[in-house]
Symmetry: C2
Subunit: 140 residues, 2 copies
DNA sequence: AATTAATTTGCCACATTGTTGCAAAGTTGA
DNA sequence: TCAACTTTGCAACAATGTGGCAAATTAATT
């Protein structure tokens, strides 16, 4: 298990440290996207607040995770798929934020449709965020 | 001119104050969406920082403006169209963030397409954010 | 027009979130 | 194993957001 995690970091050109393994593990364990606060809560005092910031920054830069725009002001992060490379994200799937449980899911199967933009505009990235109630919360 | 502004506030069930007229004027003058920091910079020391927060909150609640999710952590606000009502936003248009000038525009004509979501999921709101280069920056 | 009731504003203090510098600890590669 | 380099934790600081309260302003009423 740990070998696999290390391999993931190396593939992204990140040196292997306890901090990074811990945070990577969190991402793999959670189906939902994580905020800085989520991670801080999970690790308790095990990791410094600043270190978490810097780790997320490093993961972002190396293309291991991507961030998800939200209307509230907390940035969410989620693991990228294999098709994502450093500085070039191809996360063309939609994200779903559940109002009830607050969790955000990557809808890997929902491909973002291409749309017409005004002439002279060049589109480099597209984000599609849905808001509502997830399947789990609906049952209750 | 001032009469029209007052009318806009009244229509949204907001009492007319200098602060609100000032901020509303800013929104009407700017084609791009504004952040709290943008407004603070514009008005200088004319308005208190806290007052701006509360004014934006009031505008949001009454449906005069809507906020735009962004991947960075600063919330953007833009005027709503007439179809928006208090507590019920119908801003089903896409937003475009220009990488070069940093400005965010409402693409009023670009309607967000409906997409398929997993069964048991209920969609209440849809946000579509495009990222790239706007027409103005492309010319340069 | 003047008075009253209700709302809004500015100031203060405080909480939360994010950033930078630097020395100590850890990682990588030879 | 050693040296070069990177990462981490701590401290200090900057920026952003929130709540209380008295003074000022607006809206409503007579």
């Amino acid at each position: 298990m740990n070998e696999e995690l290390q391999e993931i970091l190396r593939k992204s050109h990140l040196s292997v440290t306890d901090t990074r393994l811990t945070i990577l593990k969190l991402f793999l364990k959670n189906k939902a996207a994580l905020s800085h606060a989520d991670i801080e809560k999970s690790v308790g005092k095990e990791l410094d607040r600043v270190t978490i910031y810097r780790t997320l920054q490093a993961f972002l830069e190396k293309g291991l995770i991507h961030n998800i725009p939200t209307a509230s002001n907390n940035i969410l992060y989620a693991l990228c798929k294999d098709e994502c490379y450093e500085h070039q994200h191809l996360d063309n799937h939609a994200h779903f934020v559940c109002e009830d449980c607050g969790q955000t899911f990557c809808l890997e199967d929902v491909v973002i449709p291409r749309i017409q933009v005004p002439k002279n505009f060049t589109v480099k990235q597209r984000d599609f965020i849905l808001n509502g109630q997830c399947g789990n919360c609906k049952k209750k």
